[in-house]
């Protein structure tokens, strides 16, 4: 597609429920990131997929958080047993193949985000 698409744009859920957030990156982009944006916390790195390499999951805050990327394209971020502190905007971004210095490889294109509210 023309840009990074995220769904849903807004999600309100009850504490303890599971949620799934979807990201459809730009076609051909091999790198995909998930970040969490909350007030006063800036952009918190969650997970990074690069091609067929094992994802960098070092930013996932707990084992309630997981993410998959199927076929090197669409990604789903799953939050199990949601807590109120999970309320935030979840941003997805993609970029072309990582590497070459001076290329656009590391320039991220962001989606509009999924705003999650846990009651």
């Amino acid at each position: 597609g023309a840009g990074v698409s995220q769904s849903p744009s807004n999600k309100v859920t009850e504490k303890g429920k599971d949620v799934e957030l979807r990201c459809d990156p730009i076609s051909g982009h091999t790198a995909l990131y998930w970040y969490r944006q909350s007030l006063g916390q800036g952009l918190e790195f969650l997970i990074y997929f690069q091609g067929n390499s094992a994802p960098d999951k070092s930013g996932l805050p707990s084992d309630r958080f997981s993410a998959e990327r199927t076929g090197g394209s669409v990604s789903t971020l799953t939050i199990q047993r949601t807590q109120q502190e999970d309320s935030a905007v979840y941003l997805c971004a993609s970029s072309p193949r990582s590497g070459a210095l001076g290329s656009g490889a590391n320039v991220l294109t962001f989606g509009a985000g999924s705003r999650l509210t846990v009651l």
Partner: protein, 116 residues
């Protein structure tokens, strides 16, 4: 662990004032450096980037940033701000290992409000 610090959390300026936003990172290797901007109600977008070469880089809308390796800094500047520069500004860094890069880490952001 790699980290990015933005010490100015909230900046208020009048139009035509000069702007400098600080960014420091903690990594001793080769780095790629970025400033992203988020205007009210819009997506995050790239303002400027540094990969190599001239440490003074120019971006869109009259912004520039200077990479000072000895200070681990990449401060953002603009000589004369406009009301339309009101936005949140994020510094970001990733390390480069011989052509392969790791994850991009962002600072906590600086909210700039320009008063007309």
């Amino acid at each position: 662990a790699q980290s990015v610090s933005q010490h100015n959390h909230h900046v208020i300026l009048s139009e035509a004032a000069s702007l400098e936003l600080g960014c420091n990172y903690s990594y001793g290797g080769t780095v790629n450096l970025f400033w992203y901007v988020q205007y009210p109600g819009q997506h995050l977008q790239l303002l400027l980037k540094y990969f190599s070469g001239d440490p003074l880089v120019k971006g869109i809308k009259g912004f520039e940033a200077e990479f000072i390796k000895s200070k681990f800094s990449f401060n953002l500047r603009k000589p004369s701000v406009q009301w339309s520069d009101t936005a949140e500004y994020f510094c970001a860094v990733n390390a480069n290992y011989g052509g392969a890069t790791n994850k991009l880490i962002f600072g906590t952001g600086t909210l700039l409000a320009v008063q007309p």
